[in-house]
Symmetry: C2
Amino acid sequence: MTTPITRTRLTPEQRRSQLLDLGVRLLATRSLDELSIDLLAEEAGISRGLLYHYFGNKHAFHEAVVRRAADDLIEQTAPPSDDEPMVRLVSSLAAYVDYVVANHEGYLSLVKAAAGGNETLREIYEEARSALNGRIFREDAQGEIIPDTPVTRLVVRGWSAMIEELVLSWIADPGGLSREQLLEILAASLPAIVETVPEQ
Amino acid sequence: MTTPITRTRLTPEQRRSQLLDLGVRLLATRSLDELSIDLLAEEAGISRGLLYHYFGNKHAFHEAVVRRAADDLIEQTAPPSDDEPMVRLVSSLAAYVDYVVANHEGYLSLVKAAAGGNETLREIYEEARSALNGRIFREDAQGEIIPDTPVTRLVVRGWSAMIEELVLSWIADPGGLSREQLLEILAASLPAIVETVPEQ
């Protein structure tokens, strides 16, 4: 028996990946609680049984979708490879703001789930945050914006909590602040806070 | 029949208040999940039945304890009435750091419960945060550190998320930073971030 070659056949891995992309798109405008296997089955036009085959259960499905969303966030916020460290920082922050705006519901529900004690989601969230925070130091290897010390690592953790709160609060109520002005605060606040670190 | 007057008799309100104080002390070194009516009964040396009489159920008990803890936080971080705005800010921040250190477990579990979607606890947490953030502007009525605008209100929300993350991360791993150095960063970062707000 020969396999028909009139259309490309997806491997199970490719099919699963396609379903995850759909899950991430659905999560953009929904909380995790609202993202069900039923909904994905309906949107993908396949049976619930097949989805259970791919993902096992609801928790594993959510975990896989959130992991993919976190990977997307890291990928989309990758700065350009040339330019000055500060230009790269602004570019990365702009992509972060746009990501949170475009995926607001899902992002908010991930923050809540991670903070609220779901261990697996907390781990994925922390991994993504570590990746983003670590990138600050990697992209600024000469320490032009921020030298790499245990204290500045701590400061960047605080700064990134501020960034997240500012972006989420700005989406809820911009208070007259444009996207460009928000970006100016996000970027300029990092060196400004680093300046406050006392000599040790 | 006459009431013995050899010792002061507490009113039910005073008794309830005393039990709440005990609850707050127990919560300091425990998460909310670990704070049970059973534990309180044991520590107070009274029956579970009497505690249910005072608090109704476990959720109402947790709510009452957390509300009391939030009131304590607001009271203990009240700055001195004289001195410069910046001195008052440092004094208030020092009390905040000491409060979080002394009540670490309970504070952390409140942050998690509030972020994780427990609506009542989230409300209490948000009220306390609003009170602390609003105080920044009240204590600096002349706008010496920070003028009062919708954008600076947003900035203070972000800064206070940073403060919380920095203090919790510092407790977990000080990274060689002393309490005084931490305080210097917390206090100096507010005007430093305000400086980054663009003209509108």
